[in-house]
């Protein structure tokens, strides 16, 4: 088995070959180490550096670059799949009951008190999304303090969560309208309450994805979770 120092050389080799993510390095270092050990076992006169060069040649002219770029794509896809799985779960019983309850409360509030509740709830949810995003960023940076992780850097960010930001101009105008407390038509209240309930669920699903990714990092790399405290 290779020594700690030689394993360190392999990690440094990966960095030199532009593999900056620890979670990608781990798999490559194990491959390189195992291959080097096999070659040195077959030919004891073979030096470590020569064996490393020979093993690296087996990765072809592109070296590690294709592995890294593909890995980025796969991590993003896996996270997106997890996100939409979480989102869909909120449309199944019993979670859908919560969404329907929220939509009902919003419908009654909008019907009684006009568009003010509509814009207030959108603004509150936007702040909630912002706070969750900042909190996730802080937690991820703690986990990535010692080692950069591709899993942490390429977490899927749903565009649904930032949708109200694109409508912020409309929301801003609405608060300064004279008739902001004017009651909405029933169909407007229904549509608005369903959309806001969906928006709330999209934020919850994003929060759940962020939590899933952090938990996965803590399970796979507990030494990083310890270092973050």
């Amino acid at each position: 088995m290779l020594s700690e120092e030689q394993i360190g050389v392999l990690f440094a080799f990966c960095e030199k070959k532009f593999v900056r993510w620890y979670d990608v390095q781990v798999e490559l270092v194990d491959h390189l180490a195992h291959a080097i050990e096999d070659r040195m076992a077959k030919d004891p006169s073979l030096g470590f550096e020569t064996a490393l060069r020979n093993v690296y040649e087996g990765f072809g002219i592109f070296g590690f670059s294709r592995i890294v770029s593909e890995r980025m794509e796969r991590v993003y896809q896996m996270h997106r799949k997890t996100y939409y799985g979480r989102l869909k779960s909120h449309f199944r019983w019993p979670k859908i009951a919560l969404m329907m309850l929220l939509a009902t409360i919003l419908f009654i509030a909008c019907k009684e008190s006009g568009a003010l509740w509509l814009y207030l709830s959108i603004t509150l949810l936007m702040f909630a999304a912002l706070i969750l995003s900042i909190h996730n960023g802080i937690e991820m940076s703690k986990l990535s303090r010692k080692k950069k992780l591709l899993m942490a850097s390429f977490t899927y960010q749903s565009s649904w969560v930032y949708l109200p930001l694109y409508l912020s101009g409309i929301i801003h105008d609405a608060f300064f309208r004279d008739n902001v407390e004017q009651a909405l038509q029933p169909y407007q209240s229904i549509l608005a309450s369903i959309l806001i309930a969906f928006y709330a669920v999209a934020i919850i699903a994003q929060y759940q994805l962020n939590l899933d990714v952090r938990k996965k990092i803590q399970v796979y790399y507990p030494e990083l979770a310890t270092q973050s405290r």
Binding site: M1, L2, S3, E4, I7, V26, E27, V29, D30, H31, A33, H34, A35, G58, F59, G60, F62, G63, F64, S65, R66, I67, E70, R71, R74, V75, Q77, M78, K81, Y220, Y221
Partner: protein, 96 residues
Amino acid sequence: MILSLLPEHQKMHGYEITQKVKGLPSGKLITHEDTLYPLLHKLESVGILISELAHIGNRMRKYYTLTTKSKKKKKSLSEPRAFIHTVQLLVPHKTA
């Protein structure tokens, strides 16, 4: 090819898989590790494989295992069809 190797060995790590694949007749198409690892990661991202990390001495090792869904799929794929399926995963095909 990978689907045919894994059930027999339960779980395997990347280097082990690459060595065994190279030893198969249809493995001659895949001669470089930079082709095999993206394939493993793609199989993991579509839910055919799952991975786990384990400490082996002074380093960590990533093991791959077939999921239940893929074990059922494996039964329906003969070796030639598995080979075609592998090539399709490796080479993105464009529609006309």
